[in-house]
């Protein structure tokens, strides 16, 4: 099937290569928005292989990419007005950094693609430009040994490629650093929102039902009034961990994500208390602080996976302490809340 981003063909000694557009169409933009919201994420791929940008020749640079379409789109857009080749590795639709961590964006796959697509016939320079974050999976000296190709590490972000080329194929220190700006954190929130999947329906449903319980039996009215309030509190706990904490990340005290989550969770709980949303019953108030703190802390801790600076050793260290605490808080909070139905 012909993809909309293929706008022509280039003949090479290694066969015909598709020429890609360097301009995003509305279709690209729309599908980017969709994929950010986890829609159709799993099959958002590009066919692995060699592509041409502009009118490249034997001297043109070769840029290595993954087959997650969003990453590929950023690369082709960054190469606007340039001539070059794009070598897409099969990373099973996963972005460069994640795939490099898993090893699919790796030495073996890169060496295979260099040989498979007969790069030595297409270009004479024996050099490939690999995105810096791919270095987690690619070993430059092994590629040199296996294929004779020299790996040059390009910038972290595709948009810095023109600057990298202008600087004589050397990255400036700021092109090598990965940051975690407000915009970048915000882009990751939609994926976090769907973390709990079907629990997002089951848990509120359970609270709605339990909210109807009282000393004399079950009341549908109570279920709606108390249960509705409970569902709002739960939603706020969840959002506190996976939306508010990521947005305010650098502003919240503490290094540990779980502690940051507790801070935002309790701030939200305090706000709810102030607006009389928690309860007037002290048992239920305490129960809500435990529940909201625990849920918010857990969700915030999960954001370590999206962050660009947390180490595995650090995450394990905080989890050993906080995961039992989070489970304890949520269990105790739930029991307290159920108990408070009967007093």
């Amino acid at each position: 099937m012909k993809q909309h981003y293929i706008i022509g063909q280039i003949e090479t000694p290694a066969g015909i290569v598709g020429q890609v557009s360097t301009v995003w169409t509305n279709k690209d933009l729309f599908s980017t928005l969709k994929v950010r919201w986890s829609i159709g994420r799993m099959d958002y791929t590009v066919m692995p292989g060699l592509y041409a940008v502009g009118n490249p020749d034997k001297e043109s640079d070769v840029y290595v990419s993954c087959n997650f379409k969003l990453s590929f789109d950023h690369l082709r857009r960054a190469l606007h007005g340039m001539n070059g080749w794009i070598l897409v590795l099969d990373t099973k639709g996963i972005n460069v950094w994640c795939a490099a961590g898993k090893g699919t964006f790796g030495t073996k796959e890169l060496a295979y693609r260099i040989k498979e697509h007969q790069l030595e016939k297409v270009v004479t320079h024996k050099r490939v430009i690999v995105p810096q974050l791919g270095a987690t999976g690619v070993s430059a000296y092994k590629i040199k040994e296996e294929t004779g190709c020299k790996v040059v590490y390009g910038p972290v972000k595709a948009c810095d490629i023109p600057g990298f080329v202008a600087n004589g194929y050397k990255t400036l220190p700021e092109m090598r650093k990965i940051d975690f700006t407000l915009l970048e954190r915000t882009k990751l929130i939609p994926v976090e929102l769907f973390y709990a999947k079907y629990y997002l329906i089951i848990v509120p449903a359970i609270f709605l039902i339990l909210a109807g319980l009282h000393t004399k039996g079950f009341s549908v009215d109570l279920s709606w009034s108390n249960g509705g309030r409970a569902v709002i509190n739960l939603c706020i706990a969840y959002l506190s961990g996976c939306v508010i904490t990521p947005i305010l990340l650098p502003l919240i005290p503490f290094k540990r994500f779980s502690l940051k989550g507790v801070v935002t969770g309790w701030l939200m709980a305090a706000l709810l208390l102030y607006f009389n949303f928690l309860s007037t019953n002290i048992v239920e108030i305490i129960a809500w602080f435990l529940l909201i703190g625990g849920i918010s802390s857990f969700m915030a801790m999960n954001f370590t996976g999206a962050s660009t600076y947390t180490s595995l050793s650090g995450v394990q260290k905080e989890m050993k302490v906080f995961l039992p605490l989070q489970i304890g808080c949520v269990a105790l909070g739930s029991m307290g809340w159920i108990f408070s139905r009967f007093i």
Binding site: R41, A100, Q132, G137, V156, I178, V191, A306, S307, Q316
Partner: protein, 97 residues
């Protein structure tokens, strides 16, 4: 990285300067500018900024750098515990890590 630093004294990064041949590839691939080149050798300047991605280890031709690398992701650690494996990154493309 103003304001965004993680837990101190926890990561497993180690550099054996004896083995270093001064190629500087570690300082090129490190996304957190952990290394500094001094007199033709690499040194760890900001150890606490290391996120254990393992890019330096992968590319060091003399095996002078070591780190226990893996996914710094709580969900991945939990999946690893459940399956009895190392932490695994099994969320979809893009978004995570």
């Amino acid at each position: 990285m103003k304001g965004l630093t993680y837990i101190k004294n926890v990561n497993t990064l180690q550099l054996d300067s004896e083995k270093c041949n001064g190629c500087a590839v570690c300082s090129v691939v490190c996304p957190h500018a952990v290394f500094i080149m001094k007199e033709g050798k690499s040194f760890v300047q900001h150890k606490d900024l290391c996120m254990e991605c393992g890019a330096c280890v992968m590319n060091c031709p003399t095996q002078a750098v070591t780190v226990k690398s893996g996914v710094g992701c709580a969900a991945g650690v939990i999946s690893g515990w459940i399956r009895g494996t190392e932490p695994v990154c099994d969320c979809g493309p893009g978004g995570c890590c």
